[in-house]
């Protein structure tokens, strides 16, 4: 083989190594956007929380007014579970139409890394346009806006509820 081919192959191989690395990095750029998205979600949540504080007085009467009539529709049901305080603070979970098990257990749909939560602590289940929260006989109890839950209760978006040390809230 000629000297030239060997030299070309030698540098070509080095180039190929770096092409591989740049291919990995370039396609990671899109993947790293997932992290970006999480940050954006938190940012959005923060923005929304601050704006919700301003909007809530205006919104709530409207919600109360239409409250009893909107039991059937599922379109207005909140679709996000946002963790505000606690070990998983800042993360959010998308809710579907299936009930959600909150707890420390491995089987929980939302596994809380919270040592003050029971294995199967509480359950969120959808009904009509609302989510209901119920305690599953947990050791430390479930609290909705500071009040201990004794039976299933509806949770509106913006109402904060606490499981162990984790404070959560539903978002539309």
């Amino acid at each position: 083989m000629s000297e030239l081919t060997i030299t070309l192959l030698r540098f070509g191989f080095l180039a190929l190594l770096w092409i591989f690395i740049f291919a990995v990095i370039a396609s990671q750029a899109r993947d790293l956007a997932v992290g970006n998205k999480a940050r954006a979600a938190v940012q959005n949540a923060r923005n929304k929380r601050t704006s919700a504080r301003k909007e809530r007085p205006a919104k709530q009467p409207a919600a109360n007014g239409s409250g009893p009539t909107t039991t059937g529709g599922t379109r207005h049901r909140p679709r996000n579970l946002m963790i505000i305080e606690g070990p998983l603070s800042g993360s959010s979970f998308q809710l579907g139409s299936a009930p959600v098990l909150l707890g420390r257990s491995n089987e929980a749909t939302v596994p809380l890394e919270d040592d003050y939560a029971s294995g199967r602590h509480a359950r969120l289940f959808p009904q009509g346009s609302r989510w209901f929260l119920e305690d599953l006989g947990s050791t430390n109890g479930t609290f909705v806006q500071g009040q201990k839950l004794s039976r299933a209760a509806a949770v509106e978006p913006g109402m904060q509820f606490r499981v162990g040390r984790t404070v959560m809230e539903l978002r539309p």
Binding site: A33, A98, F125
Partner: protein, 534 residues
């Protein structure tokens, strides 16, 4: 890249970016990886292509077949797994095969044949692990079993008749004429134990215990199993005289406990202990002091020529790196065979000589990318055990690389460790492919969509069973309260506050910690829900 994210309307969660499987990306990168791996195998000896292509075909087929097999398994079993781990691992493995073969050509060894067999075997094992390990949290259930397993694996070479002593270190076992290094597998089981134990007992280690000044010391019984694990690892390794693996295990221990608690104090304490231990060891063990001497005075003629523990290996490696320069001599053009153990401990200098700084930089970049993907999986996964395990395994690889490359470049004393994926040595290759498989499994759980899985049905069934049990309990207690029929499930669990009322969090914490440490012996699996629910 962020256009898609920022342009999404903030009030439309459905339109948020849902994770894509990205298997096509993986396939594309895998093809480049195979081109690199097979290309390197051809380049080390281009004449072979015309004279005797059998070896190139075999190694290429094993690499391509194994890589594509894992790719297919990922497609079936873990669609959302990280798309970069596999191509990077295949590239590194292919480069390693090429270099081992290249050194064989100069020295007349047959290490590359063995390595090809091990590559195939390791890739198949990785497939099996991926197939069986649908959910990495299964590994949490074997926390204490894996501690036992680590101890057994580390003690195995000490068994007379089974263990083999090579170069003064008793690390290998010999089965049917083949040597195997059980310590390589032990590092995985040890990482599983650390992750399982720390994810269960993190709060106890952090919160319980006496406070001395600004430092809160954990209670001994909370940390005892960790120290047992550490003592087993270090003790056995001091007995077996392998410093590198001891440093690796100690580093793993430090990284895991730091990751779990987030306290810098552990690192400070650990590094201090390591330095003290190193100093003491250099005074007690002659081979350690020889190592230190050949590190510090590598270029002294009498140190260079010393028969046991001379610095010839390090210095030859440095000369190799120097002759490589920026662009290297070209694959197959250098003389890496002049360095002893060129295909295992010193393979990095062989690459430095033939690919130069640019090629070696590329290899290091690949390791860096591999570790960052592992950490990315750790960030993305939602359970504590998975986070600790993924980060621990990535850290393991990085520490190993630091010890090896630091050793051959005279940054640290040279200790015999393998370069992950590259060095000749079946056990190392096997363990690194298992690590890759576990990381892939964790990254799958990290990236797959959250609440759309079929798990909800199981949850529902389990919930029904649980509610039934609660109802039975209540009937027994005679305080059935059926006043709230909101849904068919919610009725019976009403009013089960449990014996602990909301009597203030401080007492709750204390009673909880008491209850936990009391029941710890029975709470072995770590996944059982806390006692005292009813």
């Amino acid at each position: 890249m962020s256009n898609a994210v920022t342009s999404a309307p903030p009030n439309a969660p459905d339109e948020q970016v849902t994770p894509k499987p990205r298997r096509i990306t993986e396939l594309f990168l895998l093809l480049i990886a195979l081109a690199i791996g097979i290309g390197a195998n051809i380049l080390v000896d281009p004449d072979q292509l015309t004279e005797d292509p059998g070896r190139i075909i075999t190694s290429g087929a094993v690499l391509a077949g194994g890589g594509l097999l894992i790719h297919v398994v990922l497609w079936i079993r873990a669609r959302y797994a990280d798309p970069y781990l596999l191509p990077i691992a295949v590239t590194l493995n292919g480069l390693g095969l090429a270099m081992i073969h290249r050194i064989d050509l100069s020295t007349g060894q047959t290490a590359s044949d063995t390595q090809v067999v091990w590559t195939g075997l390791a890739m198949v094992v990785a497939c099996v692990v991926l197939w069986l390990l649908k959910d990495h949290r299964l590994l949490r259930k074997i926390t204490y079993i894996s501690l036992l397993l680590s101890a057994l694996l580390l003690l195995l070479p000490m068994v007379p008749g089974l263990g083999v002593e090579i170069n003064g270190a008793r690390l290998w076992i010999s089965v049917a004429g083949r040597t195997f290094q059980p310590g390589e597998i032990a590092k995985i089981t040890l990482a599983i134990f650390f992750a399982g134990y720390l994810s269960t007992n993190r709060d106890l280690i952090m919160l319980a215990g006496r406070k001395i000044g600004p430092v809160r010391l954990p209670r001994f019984k909370d940390i005892a199993p960790m120290f047992a694990a550490w003592l087993i690892a270090i003790g056995v390794l001091v007995l077996q005289r392998d410093l590198g693996t001891a440093i690796l295990f100690f580093g793993l221990f430090l990284v895991m406990i730091y990751l779990a608690t987030g306290r810098m104090g552990w690192i400070v304490l650990g590094v201090t202990l390591m330095l003290v231990g190193g100093f003491v060891a250099s005074r007690i063990f002659s081979h350690v002091s020889l190592r230190l001497d050949s590190w510090l005075n590598a270029f002294e003629p009498e140190v260079y020529n010393r028969s046991p523990g001379g610095s010839g290996q390090i210095v030859q490696g440095l000369f190799g790196l120097a002759s490589g320069g920026l662009f290297g001599q070209g694959l197959g053009q250098g003389r890496p065979d002049l360095v002893s153990y060129a295909n295992s401990d010193m393979i990095i200098t062989a690459f430095g000589e033939e690919l130069g700084l640019i090629g070696l930089g590329a290899i290091l970049c690949m390791f860096l990318l591999f570790a960052t993907r592992g950490l990315r999986a750790a960030l993305g996964t939602r359970d504590h055990f998975g986070k600790l395990l993924a980060a621990g395994l990535s850290a393991l690889m990085i520490i190993q690389l630091l010890v090896v490359i630091g050793g051959v470049t005279r940054l640290l004393p040279l200790t015999g460790l393998t370069t992950p994926f590259m060095s000749a040595g079946g056990s190392s290759l096997l363990s690194n492919w298992i690590i890759t498989a576990v990381l892939l499994a964790i990254s799958h759980t990290a990236r797959r969509p959250v609440l759309t899985g079929p798990a909800t049905d199981e949850d529902y069934a389990e919930l029904q069973a649980h509610v039934k049990a609660t109802r039975d309990d209540q009937e027994r207690e005679g305080e059935l309260d059926d006043s709230e029929p909101t849904t068919e499930l919610s009725s019976s669990v009403a009013g089960t506050g449990g014996p602990h009322d909301d009597a203030g969090t401080a007492t709750e914490v204390i009673s909880r910690i008491r209850g936990r440490s009391g029941s710890k012996s029975s709470d072995q699996s770590g996944s059982t829900p806390e006692g005292g629910t009813q």
